[in-house]
């Protein structure tokens, strides 16, 4: 059924359709309308779940871990500072192999405090052992949530998953969304019946025990393998989802990369802007292409290599920054390409932090720099886009 939904509502509808047993959540901008919607569903009997209005995000994730370890499907949502507060227990959710699903309204981190979009919050959770999906639209938000449950709960995977949607650009923006029927989702997801994690007096087991050096690393290797296996499981689930619901996803989506001199890489809502900008550039005869990264963990190495192999230059648009290095996607892509005999040059563009708009003009600026590099001109390795460098350099001082 078509509904006009805000991004958070799309996430909440997906959560409802998954029939979770427990939702424990704490409000934070821009994610707050998710727990609001869930508590509304519970209050009016549309969702038969236990909603726990906890006293912090740390407790939200902790309660989800307790519930998932007891044996129910579990979901929550947060953003930014809230996700950072959960950080400690995110490792534990994945280490205990609990397939919790976490919806994120991607938002900048303090300081200065800022409630608008960038990807710093989820990128900072890169190494927690969670699967990571990024949506471009509200339809993708709903679909990727359902897909996240299916992949996370697959017995070959059993890892938690987060689905990121851009603060306000998606969380608070209305779009038409096709909401599947409950029966269709029931058939797709099935009932959650864990064989590895349960708390039941009839079958006592110990969960979360102490691991000495002679065992710890094997646990971690198990998580590594699960993440590797998730690559294929994600493809299988994408295919099944397409068969059932008619919408086809892939870890990366490409646009005009085959003959492109310059390929841009984006995540989240700026992908649509980039596609529009590239369409115009193509009209102007500029050979520019796009890769949209939908799955960031596991990182789709093989697909990325294949998609950029014909390009002269790759420009990564990172809506995040690792201070003292550069953007995360840039660093990872450069590493993936490093052992190839022939490879494109890779440049980084830090863009759109703290909700600064990413416009078609910005995209064009990036692409034109890439085209210069493709012609052999020298451009900086790391570039900050649309920032008042002069003012900052005057105040901070720069060492030349």
């Amino acid at each position: 059924m078509k509904k006009v939904l805000k991004g958070n509502e799309a996430l909440a509808y997906a959560a409802k359709l998954a029939r979770p047993g427990v939702v424990a959540a704490y409000p934070i901008t821009p994610s707050t309308t998710f727990p609001e919607k869930i508590s509304e569903f519970v209050a009016n009997g549309e969702l038969d779940a236990e909603f726990i209005p906890v006293e912090s995000e740390h407790s939200a994730m902790s309660a989800c871990i307790g519930a998932a370890a007891t044996g129910v499907r579990t979901v929550t949502a947060t953003a930014s500072q809230g996700l950072a507060l959960m950080h400690e227990v995110l490792f534990i959710a994945s280490g205990m192999r609990l397939p919790i699903v976490l919806a994120i309204g991607n938002r900048a981190l303090s300081a200065p405090i800022n409630i608008w979009c960038d990807h710093q919050d989820t990128i900072s959770q890169r190494d927690t052992g969670w699967l990571q999906f990024y949506a471009e639209s509200n339809q993708e938000a709903l679909d990727l949530m359902l897909i996240a449950f299916k992949v996370a709960e697959d017995k070959r995977v059993l890892l938690p998953a987060m689905v990121g949607i851009d603060a306000f650009v998606l969380t608070h923006t209305m779009e038409p969304v096709d909401v599947p029927e409950q029966g269709e989702v029931d058939d797709f997801l099935g009932e959650y019946r864990p064989e590895h994690a349960y708390l039941d007096p009839e079958r006592p087991i110990t969960q979360g025990s102490f691991g000495y050096p002679e065992h710890y690393m094997e646990f971690k290797y198990g998580q590594w393998l699960a993440m590797e296996k998730a690559k294929r499981v994600i493809d299988e689930v994408f295919e099944e989802f397409a068969r059932r619901f008619g919408r086809k996803y892939s870890k990366i989506s490409t646009f005009g990369v085959e003959d492109a001199d310059v390929v841009l890489i984006t995540m989240g809502s700026m992908s649509g802007t980039a596609r529009e900008a590239i369409r115009k550039m193509r009209e102007d005869g500029l050979k520019v292409g796009l890769i949209k990264l939908t799955v960031y963990r596991p990182f789709p190495k093989e697909e990325m290599v294949e998609a950029v192999k014909n390009a002269k230059v790759v420009c990564v648009l990172d809506r995040n920054v690792s201070f003292g290095f550069g953007g995360a996607v840039y660093g990872e892509l450069a590493a993936v390409l490093n052992n190839l005999p022939e490879r494109p040059k890779v440049y980084d563009f830090i863009i759109g932090l703290g909700g600064r708009d990413v416009t078609r003009d910005d995209i064009r600026t990036v692409a034109e720099m890439g085209l210069k590099a493709a012609k052999g001109e020298s451009i900086p390795e790391i570039n900050w886009v649309n920032v008042d460098k002069e003012a900052v350099e005057k105040s901070e001082g720069v060492m030349r």
Binding site: P53, E55, S59, A63, G66, D200, S209
Partner: protein, 303 residues
């Protein structure tokens, strides 16, 4: 460790739900506290532990001392984890009494927020604080549960600060009871009849309950392992640890459940513990500790 395959056909009363077999120190009362709490709660108990000595010494992978379902997640969140477990059980319609076992660090300090949230939301969770009055697992650092005058590695007595820990112990039962929970009590396994009644009472209540259980620590208190029970008794006989219970947050009608005929001087309790050695050498410091005990006894109407 328990061989569940061998024991599973035995009636539960004949089984130990905790151990035998764990890596706790000689003289540590925590295993006995856990064993007897589980015995009185019964095999429907589902245990949640915070990070701490108990979790470390009872679950070295791939072994476990637990004969009931058990989960540990982290240090500060046992009450939040317990909240999730309890609601999931309710959703599944599965029987089970959630019992949290948490030390003083995880209760007075880093876990206080999660505890408060759990109590306020009214979860059906029995929260058992085993109070050894410092961060013992990390090597004896002061916590909000450390009494005034105690030596710890982060409250060492010195010429500028002769008392050691200068701040009084947080009134944790008062804090828990102030959430108007159905039942909060102190308990001590050296007073087994009282302990049993309180555990059974807490277990019978549908809702949040809180037990502060006194728990000497051999290395942390600088005590002889053979003196555990003696020290537990002296704590009550000197009035530094009073056995009482509070229902529905009604602090005014708090009930003292065991009252010694006369209170011994606190010195009797202190002198078996190296952590108070500096206090015993200085009459003024000793007076400070005795005054804290007297103030507590006055507040509880015992003096």
């Amino acid at each position: 460790m328990i061989d569940l395959n061998r024991e599973k056909d035995m009636p539960w009363e004949e089984r130990s739900l905790f151990g035998p077999g764990h890596r706790g120190c000689a003289g540590c009362p925590v295993p006995a506290i856990v064993r007897w709490v589980l015995r009185y709660v019964g095999p429907e108990a589902i245990a949640v532990s915070a990070t701490g000595c108990l979790e470390v010494f009872s679950t070295p992978y791939p072994t476990t001392a637990w004969g009931v379902p058990w989960i540990h997640v982290a240090f500060e969140n046992a009450a939040a984890v317990a909240s999730g477990v309890e609601r999931a059980l309710r959703k599944l319609g599965r029987k089970g009494k959630v019992v949290a076992f948490v030390g003083d660090g995880g209760t007075y300090d880093i876990g206080l927020q999660a505890l408060s949230g759990m109590l306020e939301r009214g979860h059906n969770v029995m929260y058992v604080l085993y109070d050894n009055e410092a961060y013992m697992n990390t090597g004896i650092q002061r916590s909000g549960g450390t009494p005034r005058g105690a030596w710890t590695t982060t409250s060492p007595p010195g010429c500028e600060r002769p008392l050691g820990k200068e701040e009084p112990k947080k009134p944790i039962v008062k804090i828990a009871a102030a959430h108007n929970i159905p039942y909060a009590a102190t308990a001590n396994i050296a007073y087994m009849a009282d302990f049993k009644r309180k555990v059974q009472k807490a277990a019978s209540i549908e809702g949040p309950t809180f037990l502060q259980v006194f728990s000497p620590c051999v290395p942390g208190w600088r005590m002889d392992p053979s003196n555990t029970v003696k020290i537990m008794k002296l704590a009550v006989e000197t009035g530094i640890f009073v056995l009482y219970e509070v229902e529905n947050g009604d602090w005014k009608n708090l009930k003292v459940t065991y009252r010694p005929r006369v209170f011994k001087p606190v010195e009797e309790y202190l002198k078996l513990q190296g952590r108070f050695r500096h206090v015993l050498k200085d009459p003024e410091l000793l007076r400070t500790v005795q005054e804290d005990v007297d103030a507590q006894l006055r507040e509880l109407g015992l003096k």
